[in-house]
Amino acid sequence: MAAHWDFASVFANTDALLAGLAGTLRLFAICLVLGLGLGLVVGLARYAHNRWLYVPATIFVEFFRNTPVLVQILWFYFALPILLPFEISPLAAASLGISLNSAAFSAEIYRGGIQSIERGQWDGARAIGMRWGQAMRRIILPQALKRMLPALTNRAIEIFKMSTLASAVAYVELLQQGKLIASLNFNPIEAYTAIAVIFFVLLWPLVQFTYLLERRLKRDE
Amino acid sequence: MTILKAAGLVKRFGAVDVLRGIDLEVQRGERIAILGASGSGKSTLLRCLNFMELPTAGRIELNRRILGSERRDGQRVYRESELTGVRQRVGMVFQQFNLFPHMTAIGNVMEGLRTVRRKSRAEARARAEKELARVGLADKADAYPAHLSGGQKQRVAIARALAMDPELLLFDEPTSALDPELVGEVLNVIRALAEEGRTMLLVTHELGFAYHVATRVIFLSGGTILEDGPPDEVLKNPRQDRTRAFLASHRQFSF
């Protein structure tokens, strides 16, 4: 290898890295909650028979699944402020872009999970007098959630990886800090390798957990 | 003339010894029916003979050639190329047919000829048509397995095995997965092959068929051969109690 590896300068910037990590985790938490939460609402709307719910939900899902997240983030950061009387921060823009995208994907996961619960469960719930909402909340969703867990954890992993896109609007997260360290110390190899390793270390347990869930699910079926 | 000889065959799966020392000699022209309860090891025995399963211990000789080589620690090891060679001379028909779904009936029969024997397409097709005609399915040559009945699928599987000119045919419960009214057409094909003098080993539950077609019946129990003799003996006058019990349980509802 031609270059001489210098990880010392990377470690010297631990503060910067920690700030980045905090930013990444904050963004992840926001998008996870918003994305999976909104996704549930949209997913239920997609499952509804009511036109007024189904159509807008479908448009939402189709649009946000078929547009790149980076485009959405830039739109929210540069385009939206024009329509609104206030600024959109990098965090807000990234959160909006990633959350809406995740909501669209998780909506389909929820819908698929709910649909996979057979009719008999609905009949059983209605037969004892439950309304739609109660049946959904107490009978259907709890069963569906178990099946959806692997796909939802996959979504969470994707959200975590997407947090790096926020660096495009200079939000302080891990990759952004990596760029900073690289430009200040002229050591892109060490800097970006370190960032890659950090992400790998953070995500690997989650990925293994997903495999475990998938295996458990296959066994139980 | 001995085609196949197995000596001291042992097969272990994990902690279970499924075959506990099998000695078997197969002469040319013999038709051997292998009977036994489930778990007795009969399928495993068959699958060891064409090395679908590798024996844990013991020797197998095909046409006087001992297969595999012995390692320093006494373990027997087999080279894949040698095993492929064996499988080109020993044919197997499976309980679940295992036809290739993405090829037509004739495609299935031709596959071995084209890919293994490297025959030209015309040659392979001509031979395949002959084999399909032999099993009575000449008109179904271009049909896909999904459009064939169970009995037809199994007959194509037999044609596929025959196309390779096997010295020995192994049938692993060929009719067990068939609806009862389709069993006859397959048994008829097998009987025709028997009348031609083909050497075959047949694991089956069809005792009547075994009686009429086999030259020798073997009863397997607990991984060893309990009885071995002509059908008249083993099926009508078995010596062992367990054989008697097995036959009785099969006759419970016969009329």
Partner: protein, 225 residues
Amino acid sequence: MYRWDFAPVLANASLLAEGLLNTLKVTGVALACGLVLGLALALFRLSPRRWLSWPAGLVIEVFRTTPPLVQLFWFFFALPLIAGIEMTPFLAACVTFSIQSAAFFAEVFRAGIVSVERGQWEAALAIGLTRRQTLGRIVLPQAVKRMIPAFLERAIELMKTTTLVATIAYADLLFEASDIAQKTFRPLETFTVAALIYFAVIYVFSLLGRGLERRLAVSGESTVH
């Protein structure tokens, strides 16, 4: 009320078209290389030889567990220094996304191959086919049909992921849009148009994919007994 004015955007339509073309170029290259590399990785991963399955597994895990943007930056900024080579944005993008999609395709291939039941392997071996012949003539043809929906999904994902090249100044559609937005002071109209173009292209492919999926499900001659 804000006054929408799309004229400046449309005036730069040719730049946008060029950008779109570049997007499709990168996607195309990455898709083709990714499929080939993905198959190789899958076969290595399934190989009983440790020295093949281990590195393959490592590549797959690393490229699936790290963010694509980090990979892109690494290949664009770090690799040239290590290997002493010139790296253009296009090259970096092609390399990154080829390997990245290969890692995902490898898993799809592997799942597909494994899903073909043992009976098929046994029947092929029983007529004397070697393992390689069995894989090529019997197992893969059946596996590929089942994998097509997953492949299409991955391909569409790839189309979206390649927008990341805009961050390393490759002139794809997004990069051109940002450029035009700055020049014309019309970010709202520009980015909206860009988003709509992306949507149109990707949605069409997505529909084609679904149509193909349905056609395959109907023809079902490959249903195994």
